[in-house]
Symmetry: C2
Subunit: 359 residues, 2 copies
């Protein structure tokens, strides 16, 4: 495969990122295994579409944009295998693979978005080897995501007064995206501009994305970060310690309701109570105009053991169960601003979201 | 030491409890080591007042009423040792021991209350062996606490409509008291009366009192309990799944502000937002009429490692710190009812608290 000048630019923009959760390398997909960070920095080679789907389900890779990018590369793997098996009937087999891939996790709309984008490209392909064009498209999605994050970083940071302190929940950083991050992109830009001088991060139970991933990312960039237990967020706000709560999203409904990691809603309610502003940062691939409101967003429940066991060891007694929804919905009225690469929607509602999407 | 009929009744009321976190046995204090529950059920022998203070600081025993009872027995240990050393000057030495004991943890007022109660008794003693009278007083505090919990259980349960579901935070159970529990006492009574049919428990980071202690206690009594991450409390309320948030307290100010485990305030703000009622259950030994409002209550900060390490293993990267206040203040206006053994104060304020205390 020859690399055209535009494609060179795409690849270079991906390669520039310091933290690369997703790489296409030696004709294959490599994923940074986020389950073992920060203790170990291990890349896993993903050889086929089933391994890509499993990596999403098992949270080797997580974060809505990163799931979307992984799925796009997963489509490349599927097409390569099916085309090698039978260059005449490969499309039919790929169709089933794409359905399988789309079902890997339910909440992040970026997964369906990326698979849909790749599926539409497949429809336009002639019967030559589909891999070069699909790979270029996946890499474009990847590079576009990074560019969107950089743009959102600037747009979001501009909303923040100098010397502010902020709280973030979960990990909406380089690790959750193609690179640079959504919420953490705003925080990176804000810190570099002197608008943000202190970052607090919820540890984010049950998966501890805050302690393991956000703290790791920010410390790599020498950004001052203090961890708190999720239950301390309201008390932090009561002390007047923060001005903004900044989070990512797994799906934004047409009315501006936001699905994000469990605990986001709790923090947003507390922010509302204390006059702390809530900023949601996500690319337009996270906006689902087909979903009217948060009520229609499917909320994934994950195994009880994520909560009942820590480090492979059970902490709760044997007979006890758990309720473990891993996302929640923050209604638009609790949100001061939704930031996408297309612009900022303040006090989001149907009209504001539609206007931004049609920009 | 001869046991009088009244004292027999006191001892029998202590012994009747199924879960006994604190025992006076073989002339010594035995504490159930709450740091290793539910995996191990281990009692530690506490031989002197320094060991008693260390057991409080290190959270072998925790929960405001249990800390108070432990301290009362700790005074017995101090007096016994100092009287053996020198039966003429023992009081002076005991004074210093009591100051030391009182400083073991700052937030729970029951500690100062119990030590003060015992100190006043010491002032009245003649120069005979002080141990029998002090031990009887400590056992009376212990038995009174259990009786108060039983009474609060009835009073609190009466506020709850049949077939309700409730959420509790931390552990305000048998393990946090002399037996039976405060918040869990209301839950035990409510379940036995059919008023409560489902209990949710916050896991309660960083110490996981919910997963380790509350879940263990309730499962011992076959009470249905589901654990949630602390961040899921608001989402649980949004689903309409609970009618009451029921918690204990470490100190109640004269205006009805309540200090309790970090995360209580967050849950109370969420409850307020969703019209879920908040009940605080604590004996009058927890009420500190000398403290005008929550702002004057000292909030303990504990080591960062409680948050950054799990099971002795660090989860966050090395360079990262944490903010770890382990209590917070819930203002009276978020509380529907404070339940003590003297009665119920609905919509608590200075007048209501004063009236109840003077009953």
């Amino acid at each position: 495969m020859s690399i055209r000048p535009h494609q060179e630019q795409v690849l270079s923009s991906i390669a520039q990122e310091t933290i690369q959760p997703i790489r296409w390398q030696n004709d294959g997909l490599r994923l940074l295994d986020q389950r073992v960070l920060p203790e170990q920095v291990v890349y896993l080679d993903i050889d086929d579409v089933y391994a890509a789907a499993a990596a999403i389900t098992d949270m080797v890779v997580r974060g809505a944009p990163a799931i979307g990018i992984t799925a796009a590369y997963g489509v490349v793997l599927a097409a390569r295998q099916r085309f090698q098996e039978n260059s005449a009937t490969w499309r039919e087999k790929v169709d089933a693979d794409l359905q399988y891939l789309k079902s890997a996790r339910p909440t992040a709309i970026n997964l369906a978005w990326a698979v849909g984008h790749m599926a539409r490209l497949i429809e336009t392909l002639t019967d030559v080897d589909p891999v070069p064009q699909l790979l270029a498209a996946a890499q474009q999605i990847h590079a576009d995501d990074i560019a969107a994050n950089r743009r959102m970083g600037e747009l979001g940071a501009a909303l923040i007064n100098p010397s502010s302190a902020v709280l973030t929940h979960c990990n909406a950083g380089a690790l959750a995206t193609g690179g640079y991050g959504t919420a953490l992109g705003v925080i990176r830009a804000g810190v570099s501009q002197g608008r943000i001088t202190q970052v607090y991060a919820d540890e984010t139970r049950p998966w501890l994305q805050g302690s393991r991933l956000t703290a790791w990312e920010l410390s790599q960039d020498d950004i001052p970060v203090s961890l708190i237990v999720d239950g301390a967020a309201a008390w932090l706000m009561k002390q007047g310690k923060i001005q903004w709560l900044i989070v990512g999203s797994d799906r934004i409904a047409a009315n501006g309701d936001v699905a994000n990691k469990i605990g986001t809603y709790s923090a947003a309610v507390a922010a509302h109570h204390h006059g702390v502003k809530v900023m949601v940062v996500a690319p337009t691939s996270t906006v689902d105009m087909e979903t009217a409101s948060g009520e229609a967003i499917p909320i994934e429940s994950r195994p009880e053991d994520e909560l009942l066991c820590i480090g492979g060891k059970r902490v709760a007694p044997a007979a006890v169960g758990a309720w473990n929804p891993v996302f929640d919905i923050t209604p638009a009225e609790l949100i001061a601003a939704i930031v996408t690469e297309k612009g900022v929607v303040e006090e989001p509602d149907c009209e504001g979201i539609a206007r931004m999407m049609n920009t």
